[in-house]
Amino acid sequence: MSSDEGLDKGREIFIEEAQELLTELESALLELEENPADTELVGRVFRAMHTIKGSGAMFGYDDIAKFTHEVETTFDMVRNGEIPVTTNLINLTLMARDQIRTMIEASQGGPQVDEARSKEIISGFKLVMAKDSDEKEVASAESVTATDTSTTAQKEAPIGRVSIVTYRVRFRPAPELFATGTNPILLLNELREVGKATIVAQTDAIPTLEDFDPETCLTYWDIVITTDKGIDAIKDVFIFVEDLCEVKIETIDEGGVFDEDERHLKLGEILLSRGDVRLDDLKGVLGKQKKVGQILVELGITDESHVTSALAEQKHIKEVKEQKQKTDAASIRVPSEKLDKLVDLVGELVTVQARLSQTVTDFSDGVLMSISEEVERLTWELRDNTMSIRMLPIGSTFSKFKRLLRDLSADLGKEVNLTTDGADTELDKTVIEKLNDPLVHIIRNSVDHGIEQPDVRVAAGKSRYGTVHLTAGHSGANVLIQIQDDGKGLDKDVLFAKAVEKGIIQPDAELSEKEIFSLIFAPGFSTAQKLTSVSGRGVGMDVVKRNIEALRGTVDIKSTLGVGTTITLKLPLTLAIIDGLLVKVADDFFVIPLSVVQECVELTKEDIARMHNRHISNVRGAIVPYIVVREHFLVDGPRPEVEQIVVTEVEDKRVGFVVDYVIGEHQTVIKTLGRIYRDVEGISGATILGDGTVALIMDIPKLVSVVEKIESSSYETALSA
């Protein structure tokens, strides 16, 4: 498989689908490890493998199809109760899952696949299968060996044919079937494994009791079966009784796709096509008022059991069709670029709508005004709907962490459980994607630095199993994500000493508990005594903080020594559009995210004088420091007599921002700034206003920290002077 630039649509869909299936596979395997007897989970693993194999072959990923086939075969045996679910099997399958992912990545230009590893994994599976066969002491050459696996492969539906087909089967065993020791019920049950089957027994060949030899099998069966495994899978069921029965298989629906116009076959047509009635007889009764089946039975043309069987077929097909329609209607796959484009367009529309509203206000025309209001209402509705399409439950990300924790625990010799809450909390897909790395790092830190070794925990009177609890939930326009561990907690003295040693703070610095905990987010800070395979990957908590702030989120940390640590991430629901407060300084517009705004108060020249020009104000008795936006961004022009302070709250700190005017709430479509402005601190983006002018979006946490830094360095300079 080459890493072509132009992967066709089918391949793109396959890759997208396979990624989802691999995620599903991983979470099913981890659940299976906890509940090895859950057949539903075994089924989930099997189906994921089966689909990857089928679609893989269809789009030319023969290596993936071949590799996956072995795993699928093993899980087929698990499904049949021939192999138990063991930790070894779970480990092997997780390895196989990672290998499939590598294969997919390789096809997209990623690193080459380690063929030796593939072989090693396959050998592992073969060993599991062979071992099982040995244990069961299956006679002769029937045991599952490498050769036999290929036999199984031949029995399977040809790779790539995954369409759903409905077959009608008439299975008529020879009367002497019982004498060979064959139980027809087992054959029927085997058939049910192949697909959704409706089975009706026909007993018209059974005579009265006097004439009946009860050691003969005179029943025959009408079966309607819908399957994606192909006709061979059905034939295989009867392979050992071929000489003792008549099996007639007809295809009655291909592809599982029923045209909208296509009606269900009428009862008479089914009976006719089965050969249970003749056309002349059918014509003779059509047009009568009674139901066809009833008339045919009354006239003795056919018997009730054949009509019952035909009705069962009718019902089966109807159910398959309904199921298909239900699945079709449930969801639709759309490439994410198309969604991004839609969000962009909605953003443009929001901007144009703002212009329209502003222009209409100038005209003071009642009719125009009402049209504009209607457009505004529709735009907001469209905006909300579009945003909701991009919302995904965070649960898929959570399940990845289960795997992470499993591997970490094994690497570090610790025993850690991951519990989650709020997996169905939805947030923007871009936020979810960008959240992955910071979360991985925090969890890794919790396990590596937080959770103690089992014996240490026991000695401290704790359970030997540590717990990392992950929760997600909505809080207004934000999502709160908490990572809570019951480890040893943060030691303030150790943190302080380390920060002094690293030159991050002065030995005489007076810091609150919160500030000391925040030191772990300082660049270059690490308390790890030694590098492990888990830590020491060159990424610190400072990167986590930076990534979260890039998402316009905040990080908060709480810890109790010996009890545990809780890290709380507060994130906006979406990155595309925010509610902002539009403010003006001279001729420049700025937007402050509404989520951090607490209130607006006036600032007069007298107020400034009263505080001796010290950039602090008294807001109803509370002292609030403020930043003068005009000074910070070097905006020219005189300050008005009465200014406005927009009071914000970031990380429990209240800080005011002094502006000339507060214009009001503004739906802000965020536009990223060009590369040239990338390093401008305190501005997170821009937006276009109704009249076409640009407003800069203020990054409040960043501005606060920048000003704090400036203040503290000027303070030190003043001291040393």
Binding site: F178, N183, P184, I185, L188, N189, I199, V200, A201, T203, I206, P207, T208, L209, E210, F212, P214, E215, C217, L218, T219, W221, D222, I223, T308, S309, A312
Partner: protein, 92 residues
Amino acid sequence: MFSHKLDKSGELALEGDLTLQNIKDVKDALLNAINKASAVTLNLSRVADVDFSFLQLLRAAQKSCEIREKTLTLENVPKRYQELADESGFAH
């Protein structure tokens, strides 16, 4: 193992395994009951096992009763019998 007992009211109590190994004996007992009583009640409360051959036998017995205008009723049907009827497509 199979045994049976027919009382005067036409109740045939079947006991043990109603399986292929005994099916001929079961047939004889059933035929005897149908010949003697106009309404036969099969009491299955003491049945240990049942297989597909019994389902067929019962269908044959029903046909005989229909022809002779007699009734055949099942009593104390074991769970296994119901499962078997479902599995074999007799329940339709």
